[in-house]
Symmetry: none
C-alpha cells in the first residue's frame, strides 16, 4: 500500500544531513528525451521552486505555465519510485551518490532521532499519525482559504455592478443638471449675485 520510495537508510541520511542541492548536485540528470521534463523541475531546488510557487504570484504562474502543459504526462520510469520491495531509485542520485559510500560505512552512525525510524516502529506510526493530522488540518485550511477567495471575488463583482449602476445614475443626474443650467441664463443681476460658475 505505502509507496516507499527511498530506502529508509538513505532517507535518514538525507534528512539528517541536508546538503545544498546546488552545490552538491550538479544534477545534469542527463536531460535526454523522456526525462527532460522532470529534469527541468529538478533544476530548481525545492525551496526555490516552492518560493516561486507560493509567494511569487507571477513566478508561480510562470513556472506553472511551463509545467502545466506537460506535468500530467506519465512520468519517466526512471523518476518513478520502484516497487515497494525493489531497489529504490533516488530522486537526486547525484547527491547521494557522492557520499553514500561514506555514510553507509559501518563506522557511520545515524543520529539518535533517526534510529527508531522503521515502518514497524511505534515511533514511525506516531510520526505518521501526527503528520496525517497536520495534513488534514492544512488542507482544511487551504480549502477555507480558497472558498473565501471565491466568495470575495463574487462579492466584489456584485459590488462592482452596483457601483457601475451608481455611476450611471450620477452621470445621468449630472447631465440633467448641466442641461438645466445651460438653459438658465446666468442673470442674477438683481442683487448682484455672483453666482460663480465653478464648473
Amino acid at each position: 500500500m505505502s509507496d516507499s520510495r527511498v530506502s529508509s537508510v538513505i532517507q535518514e541520511w538525507a534528512s539528517s544531513y541536508p546538503v545544498p542541492a546546488q552545490t552538491l548536485a550538479p544534477p545534469t540528470p542527463a536531460p535526454s528525451g523522456s526525462t527532460s521534463q522532470l529534469a527541468q523541475m529538478d533544476l530548481l531546488s525545492y525551496s526555490q521552486s516552492a518560493a516561486l510557487l507560493r509567494g511569487g504570484g507571477g513566478g508561480e504562474d510562470r513556472v506553472s505555465e511551463q509545467m502545466m502543459g506537460l506535468s500530467y504526462l506519465p512520468y519517466a520510469a526512471s523518476c518513478l519510485s520502484s516497487g515497494p520491495g525493489g531497489p529504490q531509485t533516488l530522486t537526486r542520485p547525484c547527491v547521494f551518490f557522492c557520499f553514500q559510500d561514506f555514510f553507509l560505512s559501518p563506522t557511520f552512525r545515524a543520529p539518535a532521532t533517526k534510529r527508531s525510524i522503521t515502518k514497524d516502529s511505534a515511533e514511525y506510526r506516531l510520526r505518521r499519525e501526527r503528520n496525517n493530522i497536520a495534513v488534514r488540518k492544512s488542507r482544511d485550511k487551504a480549502r477555507r482559504r480558497i472558498l473565501l477567495t471565491q466568495q470575495r471575488a463574487l462579492q466584489l463583482q456584485e459590488e462592482n455592478q452596483k457601483l457601475q449602476i451608481r455611476i450611471g445614475q450620477l452621470t445621468q443626474e449630472l447631465d440633467t443638471l448641466k442641461h438645466i443650467l445651460s438653459q438658465r441664463p446666468l442673470q442674477g443681476p438683481v442683487e448682484g449675485g455672483s453666482a460663480g460658475s465653478s464648473i
Copy 2:
C-alpha cells in the same frame, strides 16, 4: 484592465462555480455538538456532499465549517474505508438497494472491468497509470483555477477602488451643480417675477 473583460472572466468563472447568493452569507458557526459534527457529514451522501463541495460554495463552507474544528483529528475507525478486499459499504444504499437483488443475481455477470482487477495485472497498472495522469491533470487545472480566482479578486478590488473614487468625484460635482442651481433663480425673473426654486 477593462471592466468588460474582468466581468466576462468573472462571469465565466462564476458560471463554472454557480453559488447561490444566499449561500454567500457568513457561515453559521456550527451548533455546538461534539460528535454530531462528523455525523452530520456522514448524513450526507457522497453525491450530496460532493454537490455542496463543488457547486455550492457556501454549502461547502458550511459543511467545512462544521467539520473544520474536528476534521483533522484522527478519524474514527468507523469512518475509515474498509479494506480493499473487504465488503464495501455502499455510499448510496438507496439507489443500489433497490436493484442490488437484480445485479447480484447469478444471472448477472460482473463486468469485465471488475474481473481483471488484481494488483498484479497489467490491466490494473494500466488503469492506475491512466488515473494518475488524470489526477495530475485535474490538480494542475485546480491550481490554475485557484490562481485565476486570486488574480480576479485582486483586479476586482482595484477596479472597485477606482469606481469608488469616480463616484466620489461625480457626487462632489453634483453637489456643486445643485448648489449653483439653488443660488440661481428660475430664470426670467425680470419679466416673470416668479422666481421659484425648482430644485
